[in-house]
């Protein structure tokens, strides 16, 4: 039967982050800080979306807080959160030993490869809002999905040449696995003893309660519809002005606003596709402008071809 007791020596939540940062820094990654906007996944970070385009070498790792309003459970569900953390690694071009590097990172956080069953299970990735897709796996450890592993093939409708490898660790899931706890709120956050001990719940449970209430009950849908519209217009205007980076932020904003509207249940199934299509168009526009902006330099310095 499943054991509910904590595994002795399981790494605290924050140490997992610190260890992964150190590990990937040692592999030559730039350790970035989170993008300071609400987003549904680390893939939305410009370090992933825009940097996956073009010929330049790019290796980076970062934590990204993610918001999925519909996953809110008022702090009641042991597994689901509307706000959680992803650890993202992006390696361009994807190195030949990427799988080995990835497995090394799991060892670094205390998962012994002689004791655990690691598996790469087919899972192709597609983001309809980003117009992006790639092939890869979900990585299982003892039957639990601990990461998403993707080789990007297209972003914003454009071919990724060279190909970026993306790793996404769901930090809470991974920590629950490492620590052997069944409830996310029971996670040991800082490894402190006695009065210094802090759990994930101590820090985030109240936030889950309040934010769930906001997402499902209090978010002002009229304002959100307006926000969506404004972000869309602003994005278009900034693209016009040849500013793909600020334009892309408006795209991120519209995507999150759409997610909030979705959580409020005010977007019908029929309209849903249309909204997703609008966000995708913005994302595509940003990628297009980003490429346009860089094309000359890429061509000059890297013999790049569209």
């Amino acid at each position: 039967m499943a054991q509910n007791s904590k595994k002795p020596g399981g790494m605290p939540f924050q140490n997992i982050i610190l260890t992964l940062q150190k590990y990937w820094a040692d592999q030559g990654c730039a350790i970035l800080q989170p993008y300071d906007m609400e987003m549904g996944a680390g893939t939305f970070h410009t370090a992933t979306t825009l940097k996956a385009l073009g010929p330049e070498t790019w290796n980076a790792a970062f934590v990204q807080p993610c918001r999925r309003p519909t996953d809110g459970r008022y702090g009641e569900n042991p597994m689901r959160l509307q706000h959680y953390y992803q650890f993202q690694v992006i390696l361009k071009p994807s190195p030949a030993n990427m799988q080995a590097l990835y497995l090394g990172s799991l060892e670094a956080i205390g998962l012994d490869k002689n004791l655990h069953d690691f598996r790469f299970v087919e899972d192709d990735w597609e983001s309809p809002t980003l117009g992006a897709w790639g092939l890869g796996w979900e990585v299982w450890c003892d039957g639990m999905e601990v990461s998403q592993y993707t080789y990007f093939q297209q972003m914003g409708g454009y071919d990724c040449k060279p190909v970026s490898g993306e790793l996404t660790y769901g930090l809470e899931r991974l920590a629950m696995f490492v620590q052997g706890v069944d409830n996310v709120y029971d996670l040991d956050y800082n490894g402190g003893q006695g009065e210094q001990a802090m759990t994930y719940g101590d820090i985030f449970q109240e936030n889950e309660r309040q934010q769930s209430a906001y997402n499902f009950e209090h978010a002002n849908t009229e304002k959100l519809f307006d926000d969506f519209k404004k972000a869309q217009d602003e994005c278009a205007r900034l693209l016009e002005a040849g500013l793909p980076l600020p334009a892309y932020e408006q795209c991120i904003k519209s995507s999150h606003t759409f997610n909030l509207l979705d959580a409020r249940g005010v977007i019908s199934v029929t309209e849903r596709q249309a909204y997703i299509g609008r966000v995708r168009d913005l994302a595509k526009g940003c990628c297009e402008k980003w490429i346009e902006k860089n094309a000359e330099r890429w061509t000059r310095d890297f013999e790049w071809e569209a």
Binding site: M1, Q3, F118, E122, G134, L135, Y151, K161, P162, D182
Partner: protein
């Protein structure tokens, strides 16, 4: 003769693609060998998650030398012609020879092509295979331009113990491979297939998927027996799991019996589909047992305790989710879900799911009249609730449980068994091997669901074309055919199409065209289906004509159509059958010919007074008797008897043609004789259109 060994080593290949990939590797390489003139004794291909391997035995080390003589232009032909010939044959002037023939002197070229080294052929074959491999989806990686299912790491090509030297986009072929990701050495060299297979085993890779599956099966049985339960065999899952591991180590785990209150289908789906676990049952009750078997890819140093415990924890969390959904769903009635169906689009031109439910209700009630023992109120109620589980938590999570969950929820709110079962069954049959519903209420709703789909998509001009059938309309039609024939129902299909079409908001003018298009579509589907059952297409067509044009339920029911085709095909094997067909053709040929010539139909009544010769009269009498007997037999659906009755006409027909001149001088007599023959045609056609029978 030498042995060829090829291995393409990559990152994890999706399990579902491995079998076909190993088959493709084998067929592509062996075809290339054959095309180049290389023979071989045998070829076997294998797949693991990380490699495709092929061994071909008895391959010659070179292709045979080719010596060929080719005749060129005449010596008097213009120089251009000679140049062209030399270019085409690939020869030079000194390789030409002049020969005198009857028609003049001609150039001859002797072409000697020495055999090519097999290694050259192999190098080309492997490269072409890699570049053109038919993966369902492939990708680039890093800076490579090559595409493979996942990043390719190495190519092994050994022929007769030696490495075949070539490279593909920088991938140099070699003689080394790697073992298990965690339990094997990084790299080692091999000399031949036996060495390769043995060394892989040493490095914890079982190359042959069949060996892996056999080991998993044996272990699963042993582990289950150890817990006093029975392993539930699942070939599809076995093949999949064998494709997820290079070194299978099955482990058994358990889950809390408290989860057993959740419907079995949910538990099984969670374990099999999400977690790829095998499930077990209690041998006494036949019910699901609280144990599962996971197949790990490692012989863990603690004997697998941590792996098993980890899997148990994952499963517990998933089952807890499922139990939560189940309990949440039970708090609501299915009826409470109905309003939400008006938010789900069925198809943008065919309305919401709620609109579809309304149509299915009416259609089910209408169909109930034609289904013996079907209560119309129950049929309508079942149709009303049939789609209500689509908005339940459980179906949201596990779409494939649609219908199955609806049945549970219906029972929980006190619906009758007939209604609950119909909710579950109304999607069936989903294919030719799927079970076909037989309970009356289930049949009504299952038919209504498919007819509404067919009529709807025909109404918005989304008929299947060629290989494109995005709405699976052929499957729906097959479902309707099976529901009708297997339950022996009596319908006039065209009337039902029309009824169903009128429930849609189509232009009234389109009803008859939808109906007629569907009649033709069903005609084709039935021919296909009968053909699949081994019936001759012309026999099917001969009976179908009657079926399609029929307006009474007597002619127009599918179940009887099938009986009719069967009877016809049996009958045409007998002497009577052969006689009838011959007599019919003889009579009909002349009528057809004269009708064409005169541009009239000779199907008016026969005037007995104008019958003059004995043979004429005899035929008319025999026809009257045969017709009466055949009609009586048809009324009792005795097709054999009807056909036998008509076969008595053979002798009178023969006698008639011996003695009677059809094209008599007197117009009235001629017309009457043609009418008599035409009547034979009409009589026979009540059984089947013999004119459509070939040979």
């Amino acid at each position: 003769m030498a042995e060829l060994l090829i291995e393409l080593f990559s990152e994890e290949i999706p399990a579902r693609m491995q079998k076909k990939a190993s088959d493709d590797l084998k067929s592509m390489i062996t075809k290339a060998l054959k095309d180049a003139g290389l023979t071989f004794d045998a070829a076997d291909a294998y797949a693991t998650p990380r490699r495709l391997a092929l061994v071909v035995t008895g391959v010659p080390t070179a292709t045979p030398d080719i010596s060929e003589e080719r005749r060129g232009p005449s010596t008097s032909a213009p120089e251009k012609a000679l140049e062209g010939f030399m270019r085409g044959a690939g020869v030079t002037w000194d390789q030409l020879e002049e020969r005198e023939e009857k028609k003049g002197t001609f150039f001859y070229a002797k072409i000697e092509k020495p055999g090519r080294a097999a290694t050259d052929v192999i190098a080309e074959a492997v490269e072409a295979t890699i570049r053109n491999f038919p993966w369902p989806k492939s990708q680039r990686w890093g800076s490579s331009l090559l595409k493979w299912v996942r990043p390719l790491h190495s190519i092994l090509a050994v022929f007769g113990g030696e490495t075949v030297a070539f490279d593909v986009d920088g991938f140099k072929a070699g003689n080394t491979t790697r073992g298990h990701r965690f339990m094997g050495a990084d790299e080692f060299a091999v000399t031949d297939f036996a060495d390769y297979k043995a060394k892989l085993a040493d490095h914890k890779v079982m190359l042959d998927p069949a060996d892996r599956a056999a080991l998993i099966e044996a272990e699963c049985k042993k582990l289950s027996a150890g817990k006093g339960v029975e392993w539930i065999e699942d070939r599809g899952l076995l093949a999949e799991v064998a494709g997820l591991v290079e070194w299978p180590v099955p482990l058994i785990g358990g889950f809390d019996a408290a989860f057993m209150e959740v419907p079995e289908e949910v538990l099984i789906l969670t374990m099999k589909k999400d977690q790829k676990y095998f499930v077990t049952r209690d041998p006494k009750t036949g019910k699901l047992a609280p144990f599962f078997i996971t197949v790990s890819n490692i012989k863990a140093s603690d004997g697998g305790a941590i792996v098993a415990a980890g899997n148990e924890r994952v499963l517990t969390a998933r089952l807890a989710d499922a139990k939560f959904f189940w309990e949440q769903d039970l708090k609501r009635k299915l009826d409470d879900n109905l309003p939400a169906l008006s938010d789900i689009v069925f198809h943008k031109e065919l309305g919401m799911v709620s609109d579809r439910v309304e149509r299915m209700k009416k259609l089910s009630r209408y169909l109930a009249d034609f289904i013996p023992g079907c209560d119309a109120d129950e049929a309508e109620r079942a149709a009303e609730l049939a789609k209500a589980d689509l908005v339940s938590n459980m179906v949201n999570e596990f779409a494939s449980l649609q219908g199955i969950m609806g049945r549970y929820y219906a029972k929980a709110q006190g619906e009758s068994d007939a209604v609950a079962d119909a909710i579950r069954d109304h999607y069936a049959p989903a294919g030719p091997s799927d079970e076909c519903p037989s309970a009356p209420v289930s049949v009504a709703v299952a038919l209504a669901e498919k007819l509404d789909t067919l009529v709807g998509f025909f109404g918005i001009d989304q008929k299947p074309t060629g290989s494109k059938d995005p709405f699976a309309l052929r499957r729906s039609a097959l479902g309707v055919i099976r529901l009708i024939t297997e339950n022996d129902l009596k319908f006039v299909l065209r009337n039902i199409f029309e009824f169903a079409a009128k429930l849609h908001k189509f232009d009234a003018n389109t009803f008859s065209s939808i109906r007629d298009d569907l009649v033709v579509f069903f005609h084709d589907r039935m021919v296909v289906q009968f053909k699949d059952q081994g019936m001759r297409h012309d026999y099917v067509n001969a009976c179908m004509t009657i079926y399609m044009s029929g307006t009474s339920s007597l002619e127009s029911d599918l179940a009887r159509l099938k009986k009719r085709v069967t009877a016809l095909s049996d009958f045409l094997q007998t002497d009577d059958g052969i006689n009838l067909l011959a007599g019919y053709k003889r009579a009909i040929n002349i009528v057809d010919k004269e009708e064409k010539k005169d541009q009239v139909d000779y199907d008016g009544a026969v005037n007995a007074a104008l019958l003059d010769l004995v043979e004429e009269k005899t035929l008319a009498d025999a026809l009257a008797a045969a017709k009466a007997d055949a009609t009586a037999a048809l009324e009792t659906e005795d097709f054999e008897k009807a056909m036998a009755a008509l076969s008595t006409l053979r002798a009178p027909i023969d006698a008639f043609f011996d003695k009677v001149i059809v094209n008599a001088d007197e117009a009235k007599v001629r017309q009457n004789r043609l009418a008599l023959l035409s009547e034979i045609r009409a009589a026979v056609n009540t059984v089947a259109d013999f004119g459509l029978i070939e040979g």
